[in-house]
């Protein structure tokens, strides 16, 4: 059974070819836009690479860039094919090219859709990567003299000021970490010695946060030290004080930022996917309707166009069988020559 059969008189074929030519140039621009959106996302992710533990999330912008480049090629050929389509003399030379062309185009179009789905699905991976990265960043905040970690302080300070956040989950993460280096602690002082002794691991923990957690919107000068001690400051109650330091955690702030960016990009890429799909469908209709004209004397007759000659499953088997047979053939060759291999394992 044929999938989606439609009648195409001559005028309709001409209009289809013309519309397809315009559509393919629009899709080329859209492909270039997809590539640039992928570049933008990759740059933004790369900027904060120091607070990310792994780069699994980079698969999304990489896929977008590949798909963007591929769609430039796909749409270039689509415009060339539809230019030749109405010329019965020039169209036959594309015959052998069209089957692999459609296979590859469908693959990349589906990949575009996959990229959009991945950008939503990888939120969890991004969040766990940021959790570990920020934890390390806060732990190594004081190590400004250790090579490889000397820029952590600067990065965390800039991050907290730019995203208006403090700590990993919230500001209390700073209470559990020694963020003042031993180089700047006076070990002859009684206060320092007491504090270090009272801690199990011998760390100097304070009830305070770095200056980059301070909120400029606060009406009073920033209270960084002895935050939970209400009596240490005049007219201060830390439970009700909301504007003193940033209450948002940096992990949540960064996840929100990146998800917002990926949502916006995803919406754009989805519309590009629809455009690309319509280009391929129109090209398929044009090809099948022109195939019926081939060999006839009168090129202006009405023909039928369809999407798939056989059903969906049969067409898929038709495309996948050469690929599968390629793998099966290589397996047979291996079985014949490497019989001692199973014994070795």
């Amino acid at each position: 059974m044929v999938v989606m059969k439609m009648k195409f008189p001559f005028q309709k074929r001409v209009k289809l070819a013309q519309g397809l030519w315009l559509l393919s140039w629009g899709a080329t621009m859209a492909g270039a836009m997809t590539f640039s959106l992928g570049c933008i996302l990759k740059t933004e992710l790369h900027r904060r690479a120091e607070v990310m533990d792994n780069s699994n999330i980079h698969i999304v912008p990489n896929t977008l860039m590949i798909v963007g480049l591929a769609s430039l090629g796909i749409n270039y050929f689509a415009s060339k094919i539809c230019q030749d389509a109405l010329d019965a003399g020039r169209f036959p030379r594309w015959k052998t090219f069209l089957k692999p062309y459609f296979a590859i185009s469908c693959f990349f179009t589906v990949l575009m859709l996959l990229a959009v789905i991945m950008s939503y699905a990888m939120k969890g991976s991004l969040e766990s990567s940021l959790k570990i990265g920020l934890k390390n960043g806060i732990r190594f905040y004081k190590d400004t003299d250790t090579p490889g970690r000397c820029f952590q302080k600067q990065n965390i300070d800039r991050l907290q000021m730019q995203f208006q956040c403090c700590g990993n989950n919230d500001f209390k993460d700073w209470f559990e970490v020694q963020w003042i280096s031993n180089r700047y602690l006076d070990f002859s002082s009684k206060e320092v010695k007491d504090r270090i002794k009272s801690n199990v691991d011998g760390r100097y923990l304070v009830d305070g946060v770095p200056f980059s957690c301070c909120n400029p919107s606060s009406p009073r000068p920033c209270i960084q030290y002895q935050i939970t001690n209400n009596s240490a400051h005049y007219n201060y109650e830390y439970q009700t004080e909301e504007l003193n330091i940033y209450l948002l955690g940096c992990r949540e702030a960064l996840v929100n930022y990146y998800m917002g960016l990926m949502n916006a990009i995803g919406a754009g890429v989805l519309s590009v996917f629809l455009l690309q799909g319509s280009v391929l469908v129109s090209l398929r209709f044009l090809q099948t309707s022109m195939d019926a004209v081939e060999g006839k004397e009168n090129t202006e007759i009405e023909t039928e166009g369809y999407l798939l000659e056989k059903g969906v499953k049969e067409t898929m088997m038709e495309y996948l069988s050469p690929v599968l047979s390629f793998f099966l053939l290589t397996n047979q060759v291996e079985e014949g020559t490497t019989t001692p291999a199973p014994a070795a394992t």
């Binding site: 003042i180 009406p219 009073r220």
Partner: protein, 364 residues
Amino acid sequence: MAVGKVTFTKAEREKLAEVLWLLNWISVLTGATLFGLGLFLKVEIQKWQEVMSDQAILYVPHTLMTTGLAACCINFLGGKICLDCTDTNKFLRWKLVMMPYIVCTFCFTSCVLAGALMCYSIRSQLEESLFLGLRSTMRYYKDTDTPGRCYLKKTLDLLQIQFQCCGNTGYRDWLHVQWISNRYLDMTSSTVVDRLRSNVDGKYLMDGVPFSCCSTLSPRPCIQQQVSDSSAHFKYDEQSQQQNLWRRGCRQALMDHYTDIMQSIGLTVLLIWLFELLVLTGVRYLQTAMENVLRLGDPDSESDGWILENSLAETARSNFNIIKNLGKCYQVEDDPNINISTVTTEQEVLSQHVQIPVTSWHPA
């Protein structure tokens, strides 16, 4: 002798008209660019308007925006005129408008030059405005409960964070200002009372700066209190002190920022001015060539075009005379028939010996 005389054939005149039509349309685009540059500068200035004491600097972007709009209109009209100049018949429509149009364009081109020069000359006024503005903002930093001043703290903190600067000239400015409000000072504490008493004006001055002065480049956690006292903190040596806070003053930082912007804008506006001058010269040549063609009568013949018909001195003199004579419209000194006696007529009659009753009609 004419200034800059060039002879034009018919084909050259038509080519000139076409080229000028294209240049006028490009000028419309440059006029839009000028407007855009003015708008950009206005937005940049308004971002930090609260730390400027007067708004005189806004003259520069307003001038640029007005001249940009004027450029679009004048060059749009110029494009229309030049398109019609290819044909001598259509030129007659514009004949009377041409001279006022050229004078207008000349005035507006001078405005563009004035705008460009303003970009470079406003510097000293900007510095003065920033000095006074920053001084008062620092003074009102603590007044977050006073309406009209409650956002100055946030503005100044964000300014110091973004431009990586501290205070007016340097961080020491904060040591002479009370930047902690009395609402947050425990007046019952002896330390607070002592400090207030020791100051002449009763201000609570401390050897400390706000958190926004802290440098992110410092390897050690920020020291905000007792910043000048090297014995108050462990290993607080000269180098630590240098790296601890931002060293640059905010006035200098903002001056650098705005000077950079205005220098680039000024350069672009100068280039636009040169382009407009070129277009103006072309239109003048076209106007004089077309007028000479009409004077000669034959639309296909060669004609001369010039910038000024006579030399600069003669043109200036004749224009000056025109202006001088404008005021003498209704005075009668030039009438040749007034105050001349008719004695010569009587003598003629007597010499001919004719007996005609002479009626004396001496004018009174």
